[in-house]
């Protein structure tokens, strides 16, 4: 290992530019002659559009165009699509309703874009948008997923607002397991709806170049190549080779920037219409209305135990709210990213899960940090904790009895776990959290009038999505490999082109560390290039904690090829047989001699090509690779949360947090720790603070940060973060992924702690002071704070 190689806590190369305001985000970019777009959005959750009068708006100063769904249709611009096919239990395909980028005939949620104004300045565009007159016939709306099937039908293709009724697992066997069980734990769970709130709001600049008849889109996207593919192949705006998508610095995504949204399509399309580059930047209020939300499940779940506390079966029914239209990957989240993780860390012989996905008059719901896996973990870890309490077994002990102990392990819900040691992370976490002295701490809290509780979450996730064949068989419309290209310059510096995309993860550092480790060159001599379809040939982007396991594996594969080629060059340079060349610590050595050449020598000779014949060996040193993983990866760990509840106000204070995660091989422990911190913050946000609330008319009640509570530093404790390591056998680097773990583990840990403190299981997320206070009051027999 060099000082900057794998395992080194190298400071992030990209941070200097971010924290000194020198980043280049989409809104920082201005194109010559750029005009500005403002969207007029529906104020109604559900309405028919009788007419739109744009004349007054079009006549205002500075206005270049006012466009509606009618023009979109006239130009034959295609609909947005959902790229993952799910079939219902009865074999019928999911009911995907048309999703035009600007409303055609009706609007289906508050914020649905109805028209766009393009003007010389943003204030002019806003002024004009206010002058567009839309005659709406307001229709009844439904926002609550539990009521969707009985609500007014939103799309013609989807009777009872049902997109699919899907199931996974063996129902008969699971029912039989329940019939013979000694004890059944039952829970009704709402996984609260969340608004992602990345620090940088979405933005897009569309530019049409009439000379080459081609388009460029600067966009806040997590996967520029997929955006280009969808916009060309489905929306049909331009052929793929005539569309360049650039994702410059992107300030946080959390999933919300994976999807192909109406606004970027419109910015591109409008740029051709007006013959000027068109910029749109979302503001925070607009983001609440228009960014895809996350979670929003209503679940009934049951776990069956035998007389030794062994789990014998799990039965889950979930209603998943997908919002008004099917967003890009929405269908896969509550199915293959959710039900497949319901086995948790446990050897559960029988699992059956039904998921009904419904339309409602709310903004689309899609992947949000963890995507399906936080929902699954919450179901499993709440059931296990409550089961332990009901059975009178210590919660860690009940977990231990049920842990999977040998690998590979085939669950009843598709996944084959490749490696892990769940007992090890639990043991370490219990030690760090000083579990055995918890009763003492509880008494001490009680003396101060506080209720103390402890909660566990031994979570698992499937990351590094994923083998293309596997996801293909499950309905994915794309393959989920990754590509990389390693370009060595004649001076020996290296450019790595990757199809992964960094929007906060620190790829410029970790990817460079891999190169540094392999080639023995300092990370300063490595640049990582991503996010531009003209530079990187193809890529699948970043989400599902896949950049390490899949993206870096592709780089490793390309580095293998570079090394092999470099050895050939070195053999000519050193006048030795290729088989005698060793590459070690940045040097090519002729085995058993003191003859060597440096990396830079070899790089130079690869390009000057004086020492070998071009017929024998191609000049240059540049290799590419596509890497398709053999399996998902399975990061897992144990989080322990300790809380104090103020019984007078219901306020919850997190007083302790222990996280022991197994992410396999760690490239940069500092970055990993940062990911864990951020993930936990988001999970705590979901558990205690965040809730995107629509009222029964489909109006978003939490439309600003005045009502939507984001976690702040003061809401969070000092974490104790540690790790255990089992190498991932499914990729060459042994890495598993760490980006989502905190958000997946945390909600269950928090709620398990709060319910432990209060002695009431029925506490919703977010466990706001009001909710906890109500729960305390609901206690039939107030448990003394003793």
């Amino acid at each position: 290992m060099t000082g900057t190689g794998i395992g080194a806590a190298v400071r992030r190369k990209e941070d200097l530019r971010f924290i000194t305001g020198r980043g280049h985000y989409t809104d920082d970019i201005s194109r010559p002659g750029q005009a500005y777009a403002c969207f007029l959005r529906s104020p109604h959750a559900h309405a028919r559009i009788r007419s739109i009068d744009t004349s007054a708006a079009a006549n205002l100063p500075g206005v270049l165009a006012v466009l509606t769904g009618a023009e979109l249709q006239a130009d034959k611009i295609g609909n947005l699509i959902c790229g993952w096919m799910i079939h219902s239990k009865d074999g019928s395909p999911m009911k995907m309703a048309p999703h035009p980028a600007l409303a055609v005939g009706k609007v289906c949620y508050v914020g649905d874009p109805v028209a766009v104004v393009v003007a010389e300045t943003l204030p002019q565009a806003k002024d004009a948008a206010e002058k567009i007159v839309v005659d709406y016939e307001v229709l009844p709306a439904v926002a609550d997923p539990a009521k969707a099937k009985e609500g007014p039908q939103i799309h013609e293709v989807a009777p009872r607002n049902t997109i699919y009724e899907w199931a996974l697992g063996d129902k008969a066997a699971t029912d039989a397991a329940f019939a013979s069980a000694r004890h059944v734990t039952r829970l009704d769970i709402v996984n609260n709806r969340l608004a992602p709130n990345a620090l940088e709001p979405r933005a897009a600049i569309g530019e049409y170049d009439a000379g080459s008849d081609s388009f460029t889109l600067w966009n806040t996207t997590q996967n520029p190549h997929v955006a280009r593919l969808v916009i060309s192949a489905f929306v049909g705006l331009a052929p793929e080779h005539k569309l360049r998508v650039i994702a410059p610095d992107v300030g946080g995504g959390f999933g919300s920037k994976i999807f192909i949204y109406p606004e970027e399509v419109v910015a591109l399309w409008a740029s051709k219409r007006v013959g000027r580059p068109v910029k749109w930047t979302c503001d925070r209020s607009e983001a609440f209305l228009a960014d895809a939300h996350g979670r929003d499940h209503v679940t009934h779940a049951e776990m069956a135990f035998d007389d030794k506390g062994k789990i014998v079966g799990l039965r889950v029914h979930t209603i998943a709210n997908l919002g008004a239209y099917m967003s890009t990957f929405s269908s896969s989240i509550p199915t293959y990213l959710y039900a497949t993780l319901l086995s948790g860390q446990y050897a559960i012989p029988h699992i059956y899960c039904e998921v009904d996905a419904v339309y409602t008059n709310t903004v689309p719901v899609d992947a949000y940090r963890g995507a399906g896996r936080p929902e699954a973990t919450f179901v499993v870890e709440r059931l296990v904790e409550v089961g332990a309490r009901e059975l009178g077994i210590d919660p860690p002990e009940l977990r231990r009895r049920n842990f999977i102990k040998s690998f590979p392990h085939q669950t009843p819900v598709i996944m084959t776990y490749d490696a892990g040691d769940y007992e090890a992370s639990l043991r370490k976490a219990l030690e760090i959290a000083d579990y055995k002295n918890f009763p003492k701490r509880k008494r001490e809290s009680a003396r101060r009038g506080k209720l103390r509780g402890i909660g566990f979450s031994t979570y698992i996730e499937a990351c590094g999505i994923a083998p293309s064949q596997a996801v293909g068989s499950l309905g994915a419309g794309v393959g989920l490999w990754e590509s990389a290209e390693v370009r060595v310059n004649p001076t020996g510096s290296v450019e790595v082109l990757t199809g992964s995309h960094s929007h906060g993860q620190g790829h410029e550092t970790t990817f460079a560390q891999l190169v540094s480790d392999r080639l023995g060159i300092p990370i300063e001599n490595v640049s990582v290039i991503h996010g531009d379809t003209d530079k990187v040939q193809f890529g699948m982007g970043t989400y599902g904690s896949r950049s390490g396991a899949v993206g870096m594996s592709a780089i490793a594969k390309a580095l293998d090829k570079v090394e092999a080629k470099a050895k050939k060059v070195a053999s000519h340079l050193l006048e030795a047989a290729e088989g005698d060349i060793e590459f070690k610590d940045g040097k090519f050595i002729v085995s058993g001699t003191d003859k060597s050449a440096t990396w830079a020598d070899v790089a130079l000779h690869a390009y000057i090509a004086h020492k070998f014949s071009g017929q024998e060996l191609e000049p240059g040193l540049k290799e590419g690779a596509f890497y398709d993983p053999t399996n998902f990866t399975f990061p897992a760990g144990c989080h322990i949360c300790e809380v104090e509840v103020d019984p007078d106000t219901g306020e919850v204070t997190i007083v302790g947090w222990t996280a022991v995660d197994d992410f396999g091989v760690v490239i940069n422990p500092m970055i990993v720790e940062g990911q864990v911190h951020g993930g936990i913050a988001q999970g705590v946000g979901q558990a205690l603070l965040e809730h995107a609330v629509y009222n029964s008319d489909g109006q978003l009640v939490t439309g600003s940060l005045m009502d939507y509570a984001m976690p702040r530093a003061g809401n969070l404790p000092s974490y104790k973060v540690d790790m255990t390591v089992t190498r991932c056998p499914s990729n060459p680097l042994g890495v598993k992924g760490c980006g989502e773990a905190g958000a997946i583990a945390a909600p269950a840990a928090v709620i398990n702690a709060v319910t432990d403190a209060v002695g009431v299981e029925d506490i919703p997320m977010p466990a706001t002071p009001q909710a906890v206070w109500s729960a305390i009051r609901s206690r039939a027999q107030p448990r003394q704070a003793a």
Partner: protein
Amino acid sequence: MYAFDFHRPTTLRQAVSLLAKSEDAKLLAGGHSLIPVMKLRLASPRTLIDLSQIQELTGVELKGRSLVIGAMTRHRDVANSPIVQEAMPGLAAVPASIGDPHVRNRGTIGGSIANNDPNADYPAACLGLGATIITNKRKIPADEFFTGLFETALEPDEIITKVSFPITRKCAYEKFKHPASGFALVGVFVAKRGSEVRVAVTGAGASGVFRVPSFEEALKKRFAPKSLEGLSISPEGLASDIHASAEYRAHLVGVMARRATAKAVAYG
């Protein structure tokens, strides 16, 4: 934001005359309530009169048995003022509880009171201490000043110049923060001065800040948290939203009043 004219007078007289002659004008203090609503296009004054350069509107001074704070004094400067901390630590705690450092560095007492947000903190202190709001025209007792949600007794051409607080050390503020906004979900200011006891509540009322006579009576008998035990206020007429039902707010008023009383006793 819509376009507007901008004036920056350096004397109160100039400000008063600009306010009188401009149509549809708004005073600009810290801008932390006004600017956000303008950015959202919910307010569109044609003229803004910035008060920030008027020296006479800023500062804290002791005047006899009162503490007088200029309208343009920033939250931070009141919170950190040795004069306020010495005379009334319970009052200094009010601006210290507002927002975050950015907000405290900009926001002013005059702006906060003029705005009369139903969840703002200063109104509770003014009412709880029986302050006098001094304008370019007159002196308005706090009991008559706060007239409803975002409404005050101020006339369109009136400028708050100072707020005068009668001094007592036996006063304190207890705030239960709104989980999202950080404003007061419920805030209670309790004060005892001679034989007078005041309990003022912000955040809870459906029409703004209000006093709680039953609590005041109980505390007059004995100024101690115990006196409030078993007492509660009716949820009727209280605000109710997704963050707190009227019932929960009513409960919190009791809890915060007891805690504030305990603090006031400790200060006094």
